[in-house]
């Protein structure tokens, strides 16, 4: 079984590993933990860790899309080539929705999510004229619209770190 993402791992260690020596804590962070299936409390903690890691990943995704941070966005993906911002998308509201659903596989190696988000899309204004030309020179000249969107994500956990395998959008 794989573990959760880096930031979550740190918090896990902070809570559960505080009494461990530093080398032991480091080892615990490096090697996959053995799930004690008979320990429901531990399993519950791991589930929460996975969910928190995935939620943090989703937040990072929105943040990087909104900032246009292409490199940082690509780093969130298992295959960085998949981590691109679709043409026209200028932002995603990062607020979670009560209908959001995240499901982590029992082996904790993959997960899926269906998230209800507001996605902002920009359409270039045209045909060009002086004002449009000037607006484009300073990054404007676009119409932004907000679309209710279902974001469907597939995640993979490698070496204890959750990443996106795929992100897709469809109208809500």
């Amino acid at each position: 079984m794989s573990r959760t993402g880096t930031s979550t791992r740190r918090s896990f260690i902070a809570v559960a590993g505080a009494a461990l020596s530093a080398p032991v804590a480091a080892a615990a962070a490096t090697f996959p933990a053995v799930v004690e299936r008979t320990d429901p409390l531990k399993r519950r903690v791991e589930q929460l860790e996975d969910l928190n890691a995935i939620r943090a990943l989703n937040q990072d995704y929105c943040r990087h899309v909104n900032a246009g941070a292409h490199e940082q966005l690509a780093a969130l993906f298992d295959d960085p080539a998949e981590g691109t911002i679709a043409t026209g998308i200028s932002g995603i509201a990062a607020d979670s929705n009560e209908e959001d659903a995240i499901e982590v596989a029992t082996d904790r190696r993959t997960a899926t999510a269906r998230l209800w988000r507001t996605v902002y899309r920009q359409t270039a204004i045209g045909p060009s004229c002086t004002l449009v030309e000037m607006a484009r020179l300073q990054g404007g000249g676009v119409v932004t619209r907000a679309d209710a969107t279902v974001v469907e994500n597939v995640y993979v956990c490698r070496n204890g770190v959750w990443k996106f395998r795929r992100v897709s959008h469809r109208p809500a």
């Binding site: 246009g68 002086t130 004002l131 030309e133 300073q138 990054g139 404007g140």
Partner: protein
Amino acid sequence: MHRITYTKLTPEQILAKLSSAANGPTSASPLSEVFAGKSLKIVLDNGPTLRYRFTDRNHLSVAESDDPTTVQQVGYGALTLDRLALFAHMIPRTPRGFILILDQDTNLVTAFETWFSGYQDNREVQRQVYYGYVEQPGAAPTARHAMTNRLEGKGFYWKQDNGVETLEFYPSVLYSNFVELTRFGGELSWCAPTDYIKISDDKYIYSRVEAEFSGTMTTYLLDPNRLEQIGVRVGFDDTDTLEYYMFRGHGEWLGQIAQFEPFGDVGSTIVQGGNNRAAAPAARGARSVYRPLKTNAIMTRAQVDAAIAKNKTLFDPNNAMAGNKGPTSTFLAGKEMTLRYDNGQAFNYRFEDAQKLRWRREGGGETAWREERYESWESAPGVIMFGHLLSGAADHDAFSIVADFDNGLVTALHGTMGTPYMGNEAAVKTLFGVVEMKGLTPPPKYRRHQFTDELVGRAMSWNYQPGLTSMHLYSTPYSLSWIIFLNNGSGGLEWSGPASYVKIRDELYFAYWLEEACNGTLGTILINMRTMRNCGIDYSAGPNGLRLSIVGAHARHAGRFNSLKYFAPKV
């Protein structure tokens, strides 16, 4: 200024002309001795550390590193405003120099490193702004001067100690407007990329470079309360003569127009572009500059004729500036009339429907009617704006017309394509006249629409469609500036052109502007300041042919500068 052919000076010519600058800037006012006998080490964030020894009020030595062999002796000049000092010097035998503003109370410094020959037009002064401090014993200060939008919207009249008078408007965080009352007679306004830096609530730095024109840089400290300035101007004028002088000036307050940023936004950063766009350019000396003659085709008459022969786009409803257009009027449909202008021209019209008219020129033996596509709007009851091409006319002529049927008056803007400068630049004449129509009260003999200066100094925002808003600044009786908003509502890029304003009725004005030394468009709008909307027609030509484009926008008042008195005839 649009029409001055500034010499493309070579780097060698510039260096030769800068030789006298090594003596320091001249000044009509006595230079300050505030630094005489002192030494300063100025630490600039992400920039050089400058070591100064000031021999007297006119000579200093400067080193840009710890290497003693780099020490240079050079002339300088300094002026003070309260506890703030501005000094300037060049680096000998180079096109480089520095302008520094130093606060003697806080020891904070803003430094402009300046240089010529850094852009394809060598005469255009480039600058890099650094913030820092004068090194003192103890911990370095953490505060810094910073860019600001707190000057945005202000306007001043300035008179320098050498007699130069200007009006300067700051409607943007990237640009400013200036009217040269003495140098160029105060007819037109021009725009220049500008830095605005805050020192305190009542002390600011303003610095513009007349990009696309002479390339001259004007930098000054200003106190908006006491209306005082000290500054320096460096560059080459229209005779290629070096201007390198310091000045002390006194001002008059012209007013404050609106800012459109969200409350709390004080402009400490300028973010260009949408949320996924990069911020302002980061390369050394880079800035946002609108260079319309580099982005718009300059065409010959023959090229324009050929392009128009291939294509004319008339009243495309999808035009970007037509998003808020008013409804097409049916007022004229079925009517016949004659528009008789005071220059002797008269035109007979038959309006077949709401978008098709026939016209013929009265007299001159012309009997054939020509059919044209037209578009019209009823801006106020009985006031119709309409426009059309004059097919067959030699200069691809077009009319933009406002007819007041309640008063029997008409004003036409007669656009023609081509100027001595560009084949695709429009020219315009204003025609005043009367409407003759059956059932209409006989037209007046002497009364006419009139040119007006009632709009001068006023600023209005115009929203053409979501995502496309500009602001007009009716900067002089003969010019208009347009400012494009950044995403956060700050004023952004700006340009200006010749304009005129005709009063049709109270709160109803017929205006044009020429996008001169730009893309050559003639913009014509009827401004209704009761309904706060306009209707209008843009007339332009380019590689894609000729366009008559619908304009329609919603307005907001953005305030007014009290500037009219500066345009009165000299007595």
